[in-house]
Subunit: 103 residues, 2 copies
């Protein structure tokens, strides 16, 4: 049974997607997931010192924005970017944001 | 003497720009300004029923994000999109967001 629910991308409004990405920690997490196949929650953290509850909230918001999928793999939670679906929903948006991240 | 201050675009972080655009009212205002040369504050309002203080806050945030310039013209305040400068700072970003606005 899935522990997390994930929205259909067509139900995600643009404003929610932008809000999810308008935070340096969440954007760093998305950028790291964009470079990797998948990451455990701990490895997806933007830094080691982030409190677990904060990390959990960031992941929750990224899920709600249709940006990531979290699944259980044994004792670990694994996150992956829903890149293809997000791109279909908001063409060019994630690329434009990631390209400007270090601007 | 200018009544409002405007940031240099190079001092605007991406997260602030995204935050400014992650609100349906502000995004509607930016979209309207993108279609028009310039708008008074009243005409830039996303709807007639918006309280003046709320409108003023939205405009303030858009200014802080380097998205608009507000200048005095007689008794009116006139807003224009800093489109060219914003585009130079964050190439492709505003176009990608505006293109996805009605998605």
């Amino acid at each position: 049974m899935p522990r997390f629910t994930h929205p259909r991308l067509e139900d995600v409004p643009l404003e929610l997607a932008l809000h999810a990405l308008a935070d340096p920690n969440r954007l760093a997490m998305v950028a790291r997931l964009a470079d990797t196949e998948q990451l455990s929650c701990t490895n997806a953290a933007p830094c080691d010192s982030i409190p677990k509850s904060t990390l959990s909230n960031h992941l929750k918001l990224l899920r709600a924005a249709g940006l990531i999928e979290t699944t259980q793999a044994g004792r670990e939670m694994i996150n992956r970017l829903r890149r293809k679906e997000f791109e279909q929903r908001f063409p060019g948006l994630l690329d434009a944001i990631l390209a400007n991240r270090l601007a």
